[in-house]
């Protein structure tokens, strides 16, 4: 079976005063109809990987790869116009903070309908019905009222659910979620995750879930890539994350305080230069 997304040797580079800076170095993975987690600390290149797939890296930053294919179609050689057909329609992205991703001067209805009509060319009536259906799908009560309101009238959890509705209205095949719940409280977090979980399952989508939260990723995803300094240092089944072998992954797990297993001192991660230099581990299946 061909995977939805096939990425081989992805590199993202930025020129700086001190020379080239490689934010992502040789990352390879495939994505099927599964929930793939990418975990790492800030600066590990996990968000850059997500953005590079959608070619959202602004120049002078460069995206290169031996292969970056969506259903066998090469993403790198597409024109900017063709990419617009991919972004939002085939691959959607949910960002960390809904406050910055929603347009403050447009109603929710206008924003969702605009996206839907742009990608499908549907009429107003159809778009309205579809938007209502999506809001109901993300468990928003009273969608008619929400449609007429502006983003600032929404709470953080509502905003993020609306973002998800908006991103899924075009029925994409892949959803990239970049820290979708980090700005939310734990109770809302569970709600939003269960909505993503359900939609991904029901619609047979592929999900790339980018997060810094090891516990969250291991409990939510099927497979996890662990990134360090732009490279994938380890790939493992999510539920077997606690048996991870790479010292970096082990170090991260050890540095987490645990309610049920009290310890006097937390483990401190000793960074090893070889982690930085080593080859990226492939996440291709």
């Amino acid at each position: 079976m061909t995977p939805l997304l096939d990425v081989k040797n992805l590199r993202v580079t930025f020129p700086t005063r001190q020379g080239e800076f490689e934010a992502v170095r040789g990352v390879s993975f495939t994505l099927g109809k599964e929930r793939l987690g990418i975990v790492g600390e800030s600066g590990s290149g996990k968000s850059m990987t997500g953005r590079a797939i959608l070619r959202l890296i602004r120049p002078p930053g460069r995206v290169e790869a031996d292969k970056m294919e969506l259903h066998g179609r090469d993403l790198l050689s597409m024109s900017e116009k063709e990419m617009q057909g991919v972004r939002g329609q085939k691959i959607s992205m949910v960002m960390q903070d809904p406050k910055f991703s929603l347009n403050p001067v447009m109603t929710i209805a206008d924003q969702i309908m605009e996206i839907y009509r742009f990608h499908t060319g549907a009429g107003k009536k159809a778009a309205w019905a579809k938007a209502i259906e999506m809001l109901e799908a993300v468990s928003i009560r009273d969608p008619e009222r929400v449609m007429r309101s502006y983003p600032h009238e929404m709470s953080g959890g509502m905003g993020q659910r609306i973002m998800i509705a908006m991103m899924l209205v075009t029925e994409p095949e892949i959803l990239i979620a970049d820290e979708p719940t980090s700005a939310l409280d734990v109770s809302v977090q569970t709600q939003v995750l269960s909505i993503i979980d359900r939609l991904v399952r029901e619609r047979g989508m592929g999900l790339i879930f980018i997060s810094h939260d090891l516990k969250l990723v291991s409990s939510f995803c099927d497979r996890v890539l662990i990134m360090y300094a732009g490279r994938v240092v380890e790939v493992c089944e999510a539920d077997k994350l606690d048996q991870a072998t790479h010292p970096y992954t082990r170090g991260l797990l050890g540095s987490l305080p645990d309610i049920r297993e009290p310890k006097d001192r937390l483990e401190v991660l000793k960074r090893d230069e070889t982690w930085r230099i080593a080859e990226s581990v492939s996440g291709r299946t």
Partner: protein
């Protein structure tokens, strides 16, 4: 003997119809040398309690007593020498144009210390930053290093109480471990009393002896760390928080 005594504390913003009650009838005690946690979600009023104690939230009523200081509208200078605070975001709590040397030097001189040079070196050493960091500007420091500088600033006047407002929530987990270890060491070394605000139950369970759980401005439960480890909450909200802290659980999502 309780070092911090808070009784029937109310904090509100605005007046009349716009009045928002951020903290309602909060009461708790922190013994001398203990570490006490305040847990809750955003808007639960946990940080507001700290700000009211430090005089950064002007409208409050009730009793706040810290050590020998029974606080009124104005706080004496000696209070600020004895009680210090570390803020949540190390990127926002350091002046972007002041070097580490300036930050610590100014704090020391404001509190009337004389041997400033020696003290700066001692403080940097205390928080695990070498003398090489003395003349750096915040933009030359990582998040964890900045937070260490902020902790050094709080230590400078030799306080007995430090209020910690989510001191590690902006940091990566590996850096969080380093900072939490540092805070534990400093508490032991300097016989400090901590009052720590966090949304992360695991962090609070690691650092604190007892915790107040807050929801919508009210303290719904005060529990000891033993109760927390035994997963023995009394209030359903506490149970909900505890459950959520173990990552994603599809069954919990259904019931929520």
């Amino acid at each position: 003997m309780s070092h911090i005594h808070i009784e029937n504390l109310n904090v509100w913003f605005g007046d009349g119809a716009d009045r928002v009650d951020a903290v309602k009838n909060a009461t708790f005690d922190v013994p001398s040398g203990a570490s006490f946690g305040l847990v809750g979600e955003s808007g639960s009023g946990k940080s507001t309690i700290l700000r009211a104690m430090m005089g950064l939230a002007p409208t409050w009523s009730g009793t706040i007593q810290v050590g020998d200081f029974k606080l009124g509208k104005k706080r004496p200078k000696e209070f600020y020498k004895d009680v210090q605070m570390v803020f949540q975001d190390p990127y926002a709590s350091l002046h972007p144009r002041h070097s580490v040397d300036q930050v610590l030097g100014e704090t020391l001189s404001l509190h009337g210390f004389k041997d400033i040079d020696n003290r700066i070196m001692k403080l940097l050493d205390d928080v695990g930053l070498g003398p090489a960091f003395r003349f750096r500007y915040p933009h030359q420091l990582s998040g964890g290093q900045r937070q260490r500088v902020a902790i050094a600033r709080a230590l400078a006047p030799e306080p007995s109480v430090i209020l910690l407002d989510e001191p590690t929530s902006a940091l990566d987990v590996s850096v969080q471990a380093e900072v939490l270890n540092l805070l534990s060491d400093l508490r032991e070394e300097h016989k400090l009393t901590y009052l720590m605000v966090s949304h992360n139950l695991a962090v609070v369970a690691h650092m604190c002896d007892a915790t107040a759980v807050m929801q919508n401005g009210e303290i719904v439960e005060v529990m000891t760390v033993e109760d927390m480890r035994a997963m023995n909450p009394k209030h359903p909200y506490t149970k909900h928080l505890l459950d959520s802290s173990f990552g994603y659980n599809p069954n919990a999502a259904q019931s929520a």
